[in-house]
Structure formats: C-alpha cells, structure tokens
C-alpha cells in the first residue's frame, strides 16, 4: 500500500528513475517518498548500507569473581578467526580507570572501538579537572547505554563485556551483552565459560559461604582451575592467559601465564575416529 496521497491515481513509479538521479539516488527501485527513504536507510551510491551481521575476529570466555576485598578477572590472549588461532598475543583485559578493568569476549574490532570510546571519556573527565573521576558503576552505566543504543539501531557491538572494579569501598562485577542486557553477580563467565566455568565458580561461592570467605589466593587458584577446564574443552581457547586483580590498592594485570596440563589420558580415548 502506498500511503502517499500524491502518488494515488498515478502510474507506479518503482521502476522509473524520474529525475535521472542514478547512481546518486538512494532509493533506486523504490517509490519516491517511500517510508524506507524517509527512515534514512540506503546509501548515496545506490547501495544499501550494511551492519555487523556476525563477529569476525573473536575472543572466547572472560571470567570474573569477587573475593574479600576485591575482584579478579581472567581472559586468554587468543583472538580467533573462525577456527584459526589468528592472533596469539591479544590483551583482552583493559585497565579503564584506576579501579576499573574491562574484559571482552566476542568481536575484537568492536572491543577496540569500545576501548577507544571509554579512554576518550576518561580523558574528557581528566581534562575537566574538577576533582571527580568516573568510578566503576559510572563506566558500567555508560557502557550499558552504548551497547543498548547500538542494539536499538539494529547495529550491535558484537561483544559480551565484563566490568570489574572497586567503588566506595564496595566491589563491583557486572556484564553487558550485545543486546544491552546488564547484570551484576558475585561470579560471571561469558561465552563457553558460562557453561564450563560458571558452575565451578558458583559452587566455590556456595560451599565457602559467599565472596567474603574467599581470599585473594583462593580466588587466583579458582580462576586458574577454571581456565584449565576451559583450555581442556573450549577449542577456541589457549593456555596463555592474564589475570586482572582490582583491590583498594588499585589494578594489577599479570603477565601472560599458563597452567600445568595433563594429556596422557588422551592416548586411551577411543572413538571420534581415532
């Protein structure tokens, strides 16, 4: 149905370039004054504009766990191109502020863009020189708005972000996905980690009676164990990862490290074509 009264009773104009505008016209093959034209779709070259439809270079799971006096996070250093282990020294944990760390899984170019956005925002706050800095919950709110607005434009940033930090003496751990869904929890795991690591993290929290009963050393061990499990079963993971620790003392992001693995059992596995 053509809703524009001026077109009623006239010959259909979809197939006619009335004003010889090709290739400049953004609405070739469309009725002039059509809804799509008004909504601003299309591109000046006569081609439709395209949005991110799928991630390309991806990072796998990010883990986060609260402990007494802080938050610890982990992510490996691999950026995959499909099943190809493409980049093996990528840092997926980023120090955003003095007490805030961002961890990213999903599309790595979208992650770099978000890093740029956040760093820009932190510099603007620094330049204001008004004695205020953005704290973890503020950065989280900003990140949430960015993610939600992009999904509302049907052009999402293809990531699940984990944000950890300390603010006003309270530890903070939250996640945001490509649809702008925000949630906070004492333990968070994205991607494959939500299936393999999150049950381990939740069990540790439950048996110990909450984050207040987990020491920093415990937290490091728990996360290393989780990274080992992920390395054993997640085919897009790598035994080279970093840990980020956020306490009242500030942020420390470790050098890349690895865990001891045992593959002798693999000899005995039968099936799967072996």
């Amino acid at each position: 149905m053509d809703h524009f009264p001026t077109n009623w009773g006239n010959p259909r104009s979809e197939d006619v370039d009335n004003y010889n505008t090709y290739p400049v016209a953004s609405h070739i093959g469309k009725a002039p004054h059509s809804v799509t034209q008004i909504a601003g779709f299309g591109h000046a070259a006569g081609h439709p504009s395209t949005h991110t439809q799928q991630p390309v270079v991806t990072g796998t799971s990010v883990l986060g766990l609260k402990f007494k006096g802080g938050v610890i996070m982990a992510a490996d250093n691999l950026a995959s191109y499909g099943s190809l282990a493409r980049f093996r020294d990528v840092e997926r944990l980023h120090k955003v502020a003095d007490f805030t760390v961002l961890g990213a899984s999903g599309d790595m170019s979208d992650y770099q863009y978000v890093k740029h956005l956040l760093d820009t925002q932190m510099i603007r706050e620094y330049n204001a020189d008004d004695g205020n800095t953005l704290e973890t919950p503020n950065i989280y709110e900003y990140l949430w708005r960015v993610m939600y607005n992009r999904r509302s434009k049907m052009n999402p940033l293809w990531n699940t972000f984990v944000l950890g930090g300390i603010s006003q003496g309270k530890s903070f751990l939250g996640a945001i996905d490509l649809k702008g869904t925000p949630y906070q929890a004492p333990s968070i795991a994205t991607g494959f980690g939500s299936h393999l690591a999150q049950p381990i993290l939740r069990k540790e929290l439950e048996t110990r009676g909450g984050e207040e009963n987990i020491t920093e050393e415990d937290a490091v061990k728990i996360l290393k164990d989780c990274m080992k499990v992920l390395f054993y079963r997640d085919a897009r993971s790598m035994n080279k990862f970093q840990l980020a620790k956020i306490t009242e003392q500030g942020v420390t992001i470790s050098e890349p490290l690895s865990v001891e693995t045992e593959w002798a059992f693999a000899e005995k596995i039968r099936g799967y074509g072996a």
Binding site: Q53, Q54, Y148, P156, A175, T181, P182, A185, S194, Q198
Partner: protein, 233 residues
C-alpha cells in the same frame, strides 16, 4: 516455451542471493511479577532471577522499583528494555516534580506509562508492566499493561514467565471465580500468604522463576520491602 511479455527477464538458472541474517534485538530474560490490590494497601511482588535461554545470568537482579511513597513499578520481559523504561519513568517523574511542585499520583504515572509504551508502538519495549500503589482515595490500585501500552485497572494480575501458572490461581483465590463462597476483600496477611504460595509453587514448575522473592507492601505509611528465599535450582 512459455509466453513472455516485452521486457520480461527470463531466469533459467538458480539465482545466487546472499542469505540475510537479521539481528534480533530482543531477548526474553524471564521472571515473574504479581500485584494485588487490597482495601487500603497494595502488594507488588517479583522474583529476582535473570535468565538467558537455559542459563541463569544472575540470581539477584530486582525487577521492581519504588517510584514514590505511593507507587511501585514491576516489569518483566527484555531486561534491557525494562531498565531503560524504568529510568525514563523516573526521569519524567522528576521533571513533573520540578514543574508542578508535587509528586505524581499513581493514576498519573499509570496513564503516562501507557503513553510512553505506545510512543514506541513500532519498535516496542518488550516489557510486561504492572504498576501497584494507592489511588487518590487511599485504596489499593493495580494497573496492568501489554508491551504497546494497552492498560487497565484491576484487582490482581500476574505477568511474566509463570503468569499462566499463577493467574488462574489468583482468579480463584482473590477474585473468587468458580467459588460457591461469598466474594470478599482479603486482609493483608491473607494476600501475603497467597503471594508467597504462588511464587513457591511457580518456582517448582517454571525454570525462569526462582532464587529470591521481593515483596513490596504499599500502605498509607509508605512502602515496605521484604525479601524471601525461593528455590535456587
């Protein structure tokens, strides 16, 4: 040979068209909410689980927010939409307070919410809203909405993932539907008992409901919040 008309393009080979994957901006984060109006009180209750598919994102993400001393809003559906809508309501209520020097009444918030939902008629907020509070006469009021802003004042309503389990129970116990006994308005302790029973039972059968229950009781004294455990499996 089949008949043609001048200018017709005949395609006798398969056409290669790229497969288009459309991004779905919505996600159902589950959760159940409920509100019951009494003579001089209103109860708003919701569980705190947030899910995505078969995974639990978090065990404690509150769905209900106190808007004023007389009004509480509760929402389920797409959590990102719900939180955005809640913040917009709060913003508008603050503007109203600065403009008129008074807090918005429950009925005013109710109509505003309907308009705000309808404003996004062609890209709706995926949110099931229930507004509970006291009206201008101090009586309990429950307003229920669909995602595009149709709304109605009712006595009791359950929405969200376990609504099909709880609503018939409320119709029977609060609305006295299909009952021989005389219809009556229930006291607060009865309403709280029915609310808690509704959620403990729904938790048994609905995987998207559980973890904790938050109950808001709105009376002329203000809003009181109590928390209760639900099963975490």
């Amino acid at each position: 040979m089949f008949s043609t008309y001048p200018g017709q393009v005949i395609v006798d080979h398969p056409v290669k068209v790229p497969i288009e994957h459309r991004f779905d901006p919505y996600v159902d984060n589950g959760g159940t909410l409920l509100s019951i109006a009494g003579k001089d009180f209103c109860v708003v209750a919701a569980d705190t689980r947030q899910s995505e598919g078969y995974s639990i994102n978090s065990r404690y993400v509150p769905k209900s927010v106190k808007l004023s001393e007389k009004t509480v809003i509760s929402m389920g559906g797409c959590y990102a939409d719900c939180l955005t809508l809640t913040k917009r309501i709060q913003q508008n209520m603050e503007w109203y307070r600065h403009a008129h020097g008074k807090t918005m009444s429950t009925a005013a918030v109710a109509q505003m919410l309907s308009i705000m939902l309808y404003q996004k008629r062609f890209f709706p907020f995926y949110s099931w809203c229930i507004l509970g509070g006291l009206d201008e006469e101090g009586k309990g009021a429950v307003y229920t909405y669909d995602p595009v802003g149709s709304y109605e004042r009712e006595v009791c309503r359950c929405a969200g993932s376990a609504s099909s389990l709880i609503q018939p129970f409320l119709d029977n116990q609060i609305g006295f539907k299909n009952q021989e006994s005389e219809r009556q308005t229930l006291a607060l302790d009865e309403v709280l008992r029915i609310t808690k029973d509704s959620f403990t039972s729904a938790t048994e059968r609905d995987i998207y409901t559980g973890d904790y229950l938050e109950i808001f009781v709105i009376t002329s004294d203000g809003v009181q919040l109590t928390k209760m455990d639900l099963k975490k499996d």
